[in-house]
């Protein structure tokens, strides 16, 4: 009670300060105060407002993501309690969707299985297929792709006139690069929805691609080997975002105890710290560590790596792989919080730069 009174007093002061000076820091401060009071809805509202003014602020983005995650966890607990007392399809579906949105694909699949085995519902079958597809998109393993394909076909059998399983099949096959299967999925969708201009245009595109592509197994094997889906650009073809990343790298490299700061993307790398041939060699080493870790994480079924740390007599190498590139710092001792935060910001900025450009 006392804490709540104190927090509300502080929140009032923070609101006043924000109205006087609407800076990103003040938005963040107000959001953090609401978070400590447990008002997650308010946190989301403040962060969204702040992000409209400062769309690149990594701290606000992180706080918003955390608030959303906590809200989802609260709702998960409510749904689990409700499912015990009165299970119904809408609750099962929402719970699965929350797990999928939170990236807990295995858990989503377990819930979908439980739903299916307790009700034998066709919707549950579709959810199982969706969860397995998400797992394939995250891990890029051939077995997952094959199992997702089988589940989708079961769902098509259970829901004969439904477009959703066919859409899912189209999504799976086109992302895997199995254009022959994608073509037949579009053809079946066109039977259900004749004359759809978007589908017809896509059908024409896929027709051309299907002529020189292999079957589903071949496509799944290629995805597993390269770790890249067909709709992802090869990293080598893109340029590294040097615009606002370089000054951040320079700042990071200038901090005490830092031996080198890197931003690696495909075949290119920005390096601050080591010079000449050493810079090139170190960047290559860092890139190989990240690449090996990405492959290992996928094979071990751990999903996408978020942080890689390597310690030894050489110091510590900390890398933060993002969806577009990876930033890394090489320090004498364990990296400080300031250095870790700078690395996070670097990854987020590089990513948002690239998204803006695209």
């Amino acid at each position: 009670m006392l804490k709540r009174i104190l927090t509300s007093g502080k929140a009032r002061t923070a609101v006043k300060r924000l109205s006087e000076d609407p800076s990103a820091r003040n938005y963040l401060l107000l959001g953090q105060l609401h978070a400590s009071a447990g008002k997650l809805g308010e946190v989301e509202r403040v962060c969204k407002e702040g992000l409209e003014v400062y769309p690149d602020n990594a701290e606000l983005k992180r706080l918003l993501a955390r608030a959303k995650q906590l809200s989802r966890e609260d709702r998960t607990r409510e749904l689990q309690a409700l499912l015990k007392s009165s299970p119904r399809p809408a609750l099962w579906r929402e719970l699965c969707q929350i797990h999928l949105d939170s990236g807990r694909v295995a858990r989503a699949e377990e819930v979908a299985d439980e739903w299916f085995f307790s009700t034998n519902d066709a919707e549950a079958l579709l959810m199982r297929a969706t969860a397995r597809c998400e797992r394939f998109f995250a891990d890029r393993r051939r077995d997952d792709g094959r199992r997702a394909h089988d589940l989708i076909h079961e769902a098509i059998g259970a829901l004969p006139n439904d477009k959703r399983p066919l859409r899912l099949l189209l999504d799976l096959t086109s992302r895997a690069g199995a254009w022959q299967d994608a073509r037949s999925a579009i053809a079946r969708l066109l039977e259900l929805n004749p004359g759809d201009p978007a589908l017809e245009a896509r059908f024409r595109t896929v027709m051309a691609l299907a002529e020189r592509s292999g079957d589903l197994d071949h496509a799944l094997r290629a995805v597993e080997r390269s770790g890249r889906l067909a709709d992802e650009d090869p990293e080598n073809d893109r340029r590294a975002t040097s615009g606002s990343v370089r000054p951040m790298l320079q700042d990071l490299a200038a901090q005490p105890g830092v031996r080198g700061a890197f931003y690696v993307r495909g075949g290119t790398a920005l390096v601050q710290g080591p010079r000449g041939a050493t810079a090139e060699r170190t960047a290559r080493g860092v890139r190989e560590v990240i690449q090996a870790s990405r492959t290992a994480a996928r094979r071990l079924g751990l999903g996408q790596p978020e942080e890689i740390r390597c310690e030894g007599g050489f110091g510590t190498l900390l890398a933060r792989p993002g969806s577009t590139g990876a930033s890394a710092v090489w320090t004498e001792k364990a990296p400080s919080n300031k250095q870790t935060n700078a690395l996070d910001e670097l990854t987020a900025t590089a990513q948002s730069n690239l998204e803006d450009r695209s």
Partner: protein
């Protein structure tokens, strides 16, 4: 090995603790208590084949990281970790083995630093004790075997040396007057 892994499995958030040889063969494994109680959310490594595959892949990753940093004249990493979307893998190199711990999502790796250090030290101590016991058992005198090259030589019971009965007499005085 149980006394090495058990303290790790009692830590909250630990799914699996393993001792793996450098070439990826599982030596010992123990499931985390939190995993047993709440069920494994992020995938199972229950069967022997899965465990073997997991160990092989994990050791392979350690080796690849070492190969990647080797051209930089960096020594073999003493510890590597990877926080991923569905869990965290922490590996620490001990002499001739790797200690690996798989954590649930959301567990901070820093919290594991001290317990893993202790486990590695315990593993090392066990290994040394094993070596000492092996040495002492090898040093026990054998009475069943054939006599040595010199039957007159009697082996000392602690194996520290041999007494040779010589017939040569050493004069007590130099003989010079």
């Amino acid at each position: 090995m149980k006394d090495v892994l058990d303290p790790l499995t009692r830590l909250p958030g630990v799914r699996l603790a393993l001792i793996v040889s450098e070439d990826g063969v599982p030596i010992a494994s123990a499931k985390g208590e939190s995993s047993k109680s709440r069920g494994d959310e992020e995938g199972n490594t229950d069967s022997d084949e899965e465990l073997e595959a997991f160990c092989g892949l994990a050791a392979g990753w350690y080796d690849e990281v070492h190969r990647a940093v080797d051209p930089l004249s960096w020594d073999r990493p003493s510890s590597i970790s990877m926080r991923c979307a569905r869990g965290t893998l922490v590996m620490q190199s001990c002499e001739r083995a790797i200690l690996a711990v798989l954590l649930h999502r959301g567990v901070v790796v820093e919290e594991l630093r001290l317990p893993m250090g202790s486990a590695a030290a315990r593993l090392e101590r066990n290994r040394r004790r094993g070596v000492v016991q092996e040495t002492s058992s090898q040093a026990q005198p054998s009475t069943d075997g054939p006599p040595g090259l010199f039957p007159g030589v009697s082996q000392s019971p602690d194996g520290s040396g041999a007494d040779v009965n010589s017939t040569n007499e050493v004069p007590e005085t130099s003989g010079e007057r």
